[in-house]
């Protein structure tokens, strides 16, 4: 990302959240983004994940400039290249663990049987092979986050973006999730994690600090 600015309209007032941020994330890196609340960490992650367009500046993903891509192309990019993990898991409450994990495959146009097979394999990998048919309400916090990680891995993405992935978990469960992230990193997956936690940041190879919308 080069010279990224992001403005939001709040009533009649325009608020600039990011002021010319330059960030490079290299393939296979484990990067943590830290900073106080309101520093622009989540906004930065939104732009990195092609969820939001910058107001100014340029962003290249795998060398490809994203400014020119239309909305559908950005959606396809998210479906095929990027996985998301959220603090509150964001699982579909009415769906089983298998269907939750298979959700990105639905939008990638994968056939039903293959979707289910791949989702089962991923859940097995994150240690939930015995909880396939359970709904989020029937799972513990750690198990829910594992389902969310399985979902993020569904399309074998190059990059996983996580927003406070251990924010809602106890210490023991957090450690399990961080071990899982470490495993993914060792397998060559690029990880960008927004966090307040020093423990999480300690697992990363590099820490980017943001303060008031600027790299600190």
């Amino acid at each position: 990302m080069r010279g990224i600015c992001k403005c939001f309209q709040l009533g009649e007032k325009q608020v600039e959240i990011l002021h010319g941020v330059d960030v490079d994330v290299f393939a296979g890196e484990f990067v943590a983004i830290m900073g106080p609340s309101g520093s622009g960490k989540t906004t930065c992650l939104e732009i990195l994940g092609a969820l939001s367009r910058p107001s100014q500046g340029s962003y290249r993903f795998e060398g490809r400039p994203l400014q020119q891509l239309d909305d559908d192309s950005l959606a396809d990019l998210r479906a095929s290249r990027i996985g998301f993990v959220f603090q509150t898991f964001n699982l579909m409450p009415r769906m089983s663990a298998v269907r939750n994990a298979a959700l990105p495959l639905l939008y990638a146009g994968v056939a039903r049987r293959e979707r289910e097979e791949r989702a089962r394999a991923l859940l097995d990998r994150v240690g939930l092979g015995h909880r396939l048919g359970h709904r989020p309400a029937q799972l513990s916090g750690g198990e829910r986050q594992r389902v969310a990680i399985a979902r993020a891995l569904a399309n074998q993405p190059r990059v996983i973006l996580a927003d406070e992935p251990t924010g809602n978990l106890d210490q023991a469960t957090s450690r399990e999730i961080l071990e899982l992230f470490g495993e993914l990193h060792r397998e060559g997956c690029t990880l960008v994690v927004v966090t307040h936690s020093r423990e999480v940041a300690a697992c990363a190879e590099r820490v980017i600090r943001l303060r008031d919308g600027r790299i600190d």
Binding site: D71, D76, R78, F84, N90, R94, M95, R99, D163
Partner: protein, 420 residues
């Protein structure tokens, strides 16, 4: 294009399953909307079926009585002509019948008829009824179907044989054992042999209403002799070769009869025509308008339920912004969310509609077996009624789904992060 279509196709079933899961989980908040849909779709089916029932009733009623004939009837003159004053009664005769048969090329067949009230007796029973003395062609023109025996023919007519065909109800009244064929009955004291029993017609339009099943039908020649006071016939039924030749046929009848009866060329009362196709045209239009009105009322009822569905779906989109944003983050395009909301709306409308149609089928079946008065037809649930209801339901579902689907499609994917 093909790949994109295949992708969408693969989404349909899971999205419909999601819709059903939502419905199951939140059925209480959906209940009122579903009741509205059940009521609305039942109203569409029942009102359309009622309209179709009326139209079928009309068609069947006309078919029973014969749907092509024109009746030539007589009254008094209204204009002076050839020194003859107005108010003169014109009477149709057997000669007029022969003139029509010989001099009207557009006519396929013609039958004279005398109608008289008479007393009909068997060995132990008596009944006052209507006797129809008609040419053998009456059977074809007026669609008389036989239940048993035979109808009188040209030979009976030529020989003036005293034979009778009776209505099915009259047979039951006069013959306690239900066997009338070959037996004798007396009309005004004159014996006739029963040679046939007509199939029941029930209520019919145009003529006789439901008297047909209690009438006696005898050859015209026998009728002329029976009712000696009669020198004329009451009317002549004429059937055109083609149904659209009615006007031309009337012109030819005028040309054949007017000069012989010394009628003013513009006279339209002394001898006049009652044509079934001509009478039925405006009646059919009224029935079609009634059917359209009933369909419209049903559609409006369902459309009101559709508004309720749209409101419900808008509320659902509001409550599920986070989920929709999450789907966008997982790679859903705007059009995928549009499709999802349309599918979910159609699932709700489809379920409510199916229940409404089922309810309407039950009500229609009950009305069919209920003892309704003869002039009140039962609703007729036809394939076209069901297809029209399906089309109305689909239209309501699509229109109701558009607004919430568009709102869903505008959900910002970044909201998945912000709300988290």
């Amino acid at each position: 294009m093909g790949r994109s279509f295949q992708r969408r196709l693969r989404m349909l079933v899971p999205l419909a399953e999601d819709g059903l899961a939502e419905l199951r989980a939140a059925w209480r908040s959906h209940a009122l909307t579903l009741i509205g849909l059940v009521w609305g779709s039942a109203a569409v089916v029942l009102l359309l079926s009622l309209g179709a029932g009326f139209t079928q009733f009309l068609d069947l009623g006309v078919k029973k009585t014969g749907d092509r004939w024109t009746m030539v009837d007589n009254r008094y003159t209204t204009a002076e002509w050839g020194g003859r004053r107005p108010g003169r009664r014109v009477e149709l005769s057997l000669d007029d019948l022969e003139r029509i048969r010989a001099g009207v090329p557009s006519a396929l067949r013609a039958a004279g008829e005398i109608l008289e009230a008479a007393s009909v007796e068997t060995e132990d029973r008596t009944r006052a009824t209507i006797v129809s003395a008609g040419s053998p062609e009456t059977r074809g023109i007026r669609n008389h179907a036989l239940r048993r025996g035979r109808y009188y023919d040209d030979s009976d007519e030529r020989s003036g044989r005293r034979v009778a065909v009776i209505g099915s109800d009259l047979e039951a009244i006069l013959f306690a054992d239900g066997e009338s064929l070959g037996r004798s009955l007396q009309i005004d004291g004159v014996p006739f042999e029963v040679i046939g029993v007509l199939a029941p017609k029930g209520f019919q339009l145009m003529t006789d209403m439901d008297l047909h099943d209690r009438e006696v039908f005898i050859p015209l020649a026998a009728g002329v002799r029976l009712f000696r006071s009669r020198r004329s016939i009451d009317h002549v039924y004429v059937e055109p070769r083609r149904i659209d030749e009615g006007e031309r046929m009337e012109g030819e009848i005028r040309a054949a009869l007017w000069p012989l009866h010394h009628l003013h060329p513009e006279e339209s009362e002394a001898i006049f025509f009652e044509s079934v196709p001509k009478i039925m045209r405006p009646v059919r239009n009224v029935f079609l308008a009634l059917q359209a009105l009933l369909g419209f009322v049903g559609t409006v009822t369902l459309a009101i339920a559709g508004v309720s569905v749209a409101n419900l779906m808008i509320a659902i989109v509001g409550a599920r912004r986070r989920e929709l944003a999450m789907r966008r983050a997982c790679g859903a395009r705007r059009s995928d969310l549009l499709l999802q909301l349309m599918v979910e709306t159609l699932v709700i409308v489809g379920l409510g509609g199916a229940a409404g149609v089922a309810l309407a089928l039950i009500v229609a079946a009950l009305l069919t077996v209920a003892p309704l008065p003869p002039a009140l037809p039962a609703p007729r649930v036809s394939a076209s009624v069901l297809l029209t209801t399906l089309a109305v339901l689909a239209a309501v579902g699509l229109v109701a789904g558009v607004a919430p689907a568009r709102i869903a499609a505008r959900v910002d994917p970044a909201a998945a992060l912000r709300v988290s």
